[in-house]
Point group: C2
Amino acid sequence: MNYVKAFAPATVANVACGFDIFGFAIQEPGDIVEIKRKDEPGIVIADITGDAGRLPRAAEKNAVTVVMLHLLKHLGISDFGCEVILHKNMPLGSGMGSSAASAVAGVVALNELLDNPLSRQDLLRFAMEGERIASGSAHADNVGPSLLGGFVVIRSYNPLDIFSIPVPEDLYCTLVHPDIEINTKDARYILRNEVSLKNAITQMGNVAGLVAGIMKSDYDLISRSMVDVIIEPVRSILIPEFNEVKKAAISAGALGCSISGAGPSMFALSRGVDTAWQVGSIMTETFRQAGIEANMHISGINQGGALILEKS
Amino acid sequence: MNYVKAFAPATVANVACGFDIFGFAIQEPGDIVEIKRKDEPGIVIADITGDAGRLPRAAEKNAVTVVMLHLLKHLGISDFGCEVILHKNMPLGSGMGSSAASAVAGVVALNELLDNPLSRQDLLRFAMEGERIASGSAHADNVGPSLLGGFVVIRSYNPLDIFSIPVPEDLYCTLVHPDIEINTKDARYILRNEVSLKNAITQMGNVAGLVAGIMKSDYDLISRSMVDVIIEPVRSILIPEFNEVKKAAISAGALGCSISGAGPSMFALSRGVDTAWQVGSIMTETFRQAGIEANMHISGINQGGALILEKS
């Protein structure tokens, strides 16, 4: 095999109450990585599209190639060479798991080119290294669902313990990206290091409720559990119109609405695709009325995660 | 109807990671309340057995009758009179939900005598008032499972939102009570009001894992999730031999072991009744080797909660 083209989907991390422990993938958009074997050893970035020239072109500085270098090192392969093309199909710093999608597409493509020496589950920690470079923290709530699909729970980081739970069929995500940018490092920096025991208990109740609601297909319980008393009150300050947009989403029938990852994207979950569209319309309209351009993606929960699109 | 005799089971609250939000009932022991209608209005405690004279005999001071007075007031009944006999079948301040069992048996008996004007779910907040009197905090993680049965999740206290999740058939509880006493108010007092965000995230991961593990009958996941980084490290200091007893339980095959409620009782969960017995033997033996008398109860998860034993 000399050529592989892989796709890894955008993801919604945290999912209201589950900071650093919940995430799910959507169908689209997603990043695409093409890798082509070359004779000389070493990984070279041949091209990046869609980033307006903002991502580093040096292989040892770009998340997508750093994860590949980690993987090669782990496998003890020193004589491998390839050219990499990265197609960014989502904005940087958007809260849609942009860096995770690139890193996941990268490791999945390389693993395929090498004839799959590692399982998807095993690839996780390499993809997480990409997150460390992009955001300063090797969190798994974007790379996990982008790689594995489904609604993912990260029970533990050390040791890494991650699993998926079955998702109700009629659950749809509305992802709205307002045209402003937040740096994930900043979004982590403003969080307090301590939370009140009272808030921790409230959050734990909602975490338990969201897992049970999803597993029981109990949409009311999902709705009641999409409450974040720890992160959202702090981070939402960085998103203009957050409260208005959230209120609009709920009024249009969303089960819940919160920040996607570190923001500024916002997501809503709805029962049924029609409601998800209506929710998206009113959310984008609310941003636009405040002079902020916004676009939306409507999608079921992506059950499969990253995909190989082509190989030869 | 002039006479009702009701039973309410002991309960394990918190269940390792779920402080104030998880609880389950066991089959035995449990408290029994008998109430007999009398002509003159007013509630009188005729007798209490098994408490060695320690519980208050005045109706307005004892949790079991206070919850009845609350219920009567709510129903607008002022001319009702009854005699109450409370049989305490578990030690006070044991961490087995002793006060909750009494309060639950009380409201269930009275509701039955009045021909069930309220549902079980509706009785919950009256039983919680008993907890406020007994421990200074109207928590629901003992009264909830004692009243409703099953593995109970309290998603929210305000508004009260409580539900059960299905439990694996082969899950057994070992409850070991060492002959020492802890006051629940003290056990709450020593807790810190703040927790680190890091520990809150770890705990949330375990909460999510325990709910998913129980709902999927995934015993390994249950085992990995029975970790409490917030409460157990503080409260276990009040229990002599805690670490040794826990280690012994795990070595005998328990899925996990922690403090039952506020302690000093300790519980373990095991797959299969035989393992649960072996775990109990080694736990009590470990206490005894340190000079602490201990007794144990082995039980499946009680799915039904409180019971009417007799009426006439």
